[in-house]
Amino acid sequence: MEPRRVPQNNPKIRQVGFTFNSQTQNPHSQPPLSTTISGGAVENNTSTLSPVMIPPPPFLDTSTSLPVPVPAAAAIPAARRVYDDSHSYLAASSPESTQPDLSEDWLRSSSGKYSLAFDMSGVNSPVADEQSTEGAEITVANHEKGANVSEVQVSHEDKKLSSKPSKDKLSKAERRALQEAQRAAKSNKKAAASGVAAHVTGKPTEASKQPPQKKNVPLRTSSVPVSETKGGNQPSEKDKKKDIPHPRMQYDDKSRVEKAKKRSVVKQTEVRNRVELFRHLPQYEYGNQIHDLESKIFNHDSVHPAVYKVGLQYLSGDISGSNARCIAMLCAFKEAIEDYHTPADKIITRDLTARLNSYVSFLSECRPLSISMGNAIRYLKTRITKLPSSLSESETKTAISSDINRFIHEKIVVADNVIVQQAATKVRDGDVLLTYGCSSVVEMVLVYAHEHGKKFRVVIVDSRPKFEGQGLLRRLVAKGLSCTYTHINAVSYVMHEVTRVFLGAASIFSNGIVYSRIGTACVAMVAHSFRVPVLVCCEAYKFHERVLLDSICANELGDPDVIAKVPGRKDVNYLSNWMNKENLQLLHLLYDATPSDYISLIVTDYGMIPPTSVPVIVREYGKEHLF
């Protein structure tokens, strides 16, 4: 057993390995044996074991949530309702929304191309409008109009409301903007409430959604000052500690979670029965906060509406896939920066970094950041701090947005083209290619090879609960490729006829481990045992210098409800009231780690490399994209 360490005292120490942190409110740390899954139920409240402290990119420290006491009975129907809604989001926001028949599918909105991500660069885009009108809420366009009209008149009760959070940290202009936003939101909420009241007779679920929303309002106002002060003095600290990576937030660390949830914008409820081994990862009840957040889109002075919208899309699952998420985030940042005005007493680069930090922490509250996003944020921050202070505000802003464009273009779009062309050389006539899930790059490879006259067959392996492969299947079949669709249960059966396996990746770590959609490791292992070459297509900006050994330390937990229920099968819902069972924990992991032994080849924008050469790319080019 290692000596106990108090992480708050010396945050600069890079903690790797199994460390125990003794906490003030809980001095009895558990022996490591207690991490077994079966023992989990007993120690729900006394968990002090923080497994591995991994130094992540330095922006992760301000994230978590506040468990809002929501009556379980009210939460479940609300969650269900929102899930139904998110289906219609999919229909409205997916790029193929012109084709009405696609809406029933489990389509990923980022259909391999980035059309969506580029479309939604404007808050006023039709996509955004459609989304916010959904469910008797505010339309963004209306909202802004309202704000413009009320520019001059600031009523007294509004001042009372808004002066509390803003305090002396805000300049006059900013305070005014805040007041307008809040005023408009308030009036809109009233309108919405009356709309809901009218609806109640028709839709009883609507009413059950109301109480948590109201409860959140006072909480939010009290939490704002914390985030404001934090934002104000952060950059100087950040700069100092830049080269020392912060330990990633461990969610079984009670005091930190308490601290973090004070400044969180998204009110997330922690799931009650959690698997012991994965306590260090955040897990929330899904679905009940989307409407709530949606109604408050302009209440947040700290989060720009474009960023806010992207956050909600992450939350609802409308945008998934690390490329799509990264592009969406960068576009939102670009927009936020365009609308940005430097407060009178601030330096633009410093203040902008603080802003970005608050956006990032908001986004990571919606969904934990992906490695791709982390790298993009790191790039952006370095670019901002490197800007000469002699530039004027508009020059700075154009410089930053051109940097963002460059990143998207070079690191993602062009990189994908290079990858596609190289990977296609590995496709021969008569091949049978297997792919798992829905990777945008792999889709492009397949389409490219098909367009260049290669004769091959595709096996798409898919899995519950997202069925992302069906979207891919639909698009490939529409293009005329001959496809076989199967579920992961049958992978060992189909593998014997397969000649190549193409996989996508969320990230690749320095030891060659591929971090990707859950199930990828299984497919790669089966392929390896059948001696089928496994090709991983991954842009180099997703590489990370960290080392990962298993899929426990760094992972993401999904909604446990989804794996407990089978949609469309009422008769197999044996677990419908699982929440009440103390001795049941559901584990819905979203990612897994594929060992490098199973991977024959990684196709990146720097060429085709073996997994052992990932650290070379990170070493030679990791620094380069920061400058």
């Binding site: 070079e410 290079v418 062309q421 190289q422 050389t425 590995k426 021969r428 260049h452 006259g453 190549r500 070459p533 090709l535 024959s600 080849l601 924008d605 720097y606 060429g607 085709m608 490399i609 073996p610 052992t612 050469s613 070379v616 790319i617 030679e620 080019y621 380069e624 994209h625």
Partner: protein, 401 residues
Amino acid sequence: MWYRSPSFILDNQEQEKFLLRQQLDQQNDDVLNPPPPPSMSEISIQNPNPNISAYYQTRAAHHAVVTSDWLAQAQAAVSGGVTGEDTVEKVEEDDRVVEKGESVIEEFNSWRKQPDLAEAVAAIRALASVIRSSKATTMMELEIELKKASDSLKSWDATSISLTAACDLFMRYVTRTSALEYEDFNSARSRLMERAEKFGEISYKARRIISMLSQDFIFDGCTILVHGFSRVVLEVLKTAAQNKKSFRVFCTEGRPDRTGLRFSNEMAKLDVPVKLLIDSAVAYSMDEVDMVFVGADGVVESGGIINMMGTYQIALVAHSLNKPVYVAAESYKFARLYPLDQKDMAPALRPIDFGVPVPSKVEIEKSARDYTPPQYLTLLFTDLGVLTPSVVSDELIQLYL
């Protein structure tokens, strides 16, 4: 930096795309009259004999291996058939249209005549002579000329991995000097010359360096299994014999061109105890063997090697009996290739003499080389040092990107 890195790959792909488009156009033009597949037609322009890899022809010529197939071809050529010399001339006529190409290949061929000089070194010297005799007046012109010359060399024999790799490496090594842009043309050119000579020198000395490096691995009383005739391995063993190490050599026969026979001759000249095995006796005698020593036609990015047919199975047997497999290869054989399996590379064909007539219905596997994946190799002895297979990719990334 970023733009430049994948340029080589992009160039290649552009070319491929162009070819593909051409092919498609052709197909559109005459659907009734489909042309031969592009790879074959390509080779038939450049390669004297479409069915036989030029690389193996040179090797056979150097080693004075005369097979009956070879004789038959020679006779056919003499009696006026359209093979051998005729096509070579045709090639050169074709190249004359491309101006520079011809002189490079002539130069290359003259260098190549020396049996001790590796093909790649000959190519490097030929390219250096292009710079020397160039009448270009700007850096850009010179670079284009050099690129053309190396392209014509590469296309002269697409099956030789070391030739292609050496041309690519030469281009990278010689033209990649940031100082070039700031100097006037003459000094830049002399700098290029300097680098070219230096590169030629390094390549020439590579064998010597490798033989020095590998001495530590040969211990007294060991038994070494050798496959094929590799000039590097010969140099290594020669040096070991000169250093008064006592060791034993097993030579595989090396069918069909019997390279093992030749190697055993060389060993006998050095008074090293040598035993000749037929190729199928490798597993039988592996328990006596302490290490396997092979050369390589090419070292690929995964760290695996492409070498004479039979290397893969020897490596498999050695791996399963836990014997180390050492590869001796010069760094100019490092190629930016990444074969995933045996069939994932351009096949190099060669004639096989079975001694008896083979019925026409029987198909013959004519491929001359196979791919050994990196997990079966222990170490690579190169002029860059003794490397593990995974370092090859690191070196390649640093050389090319």
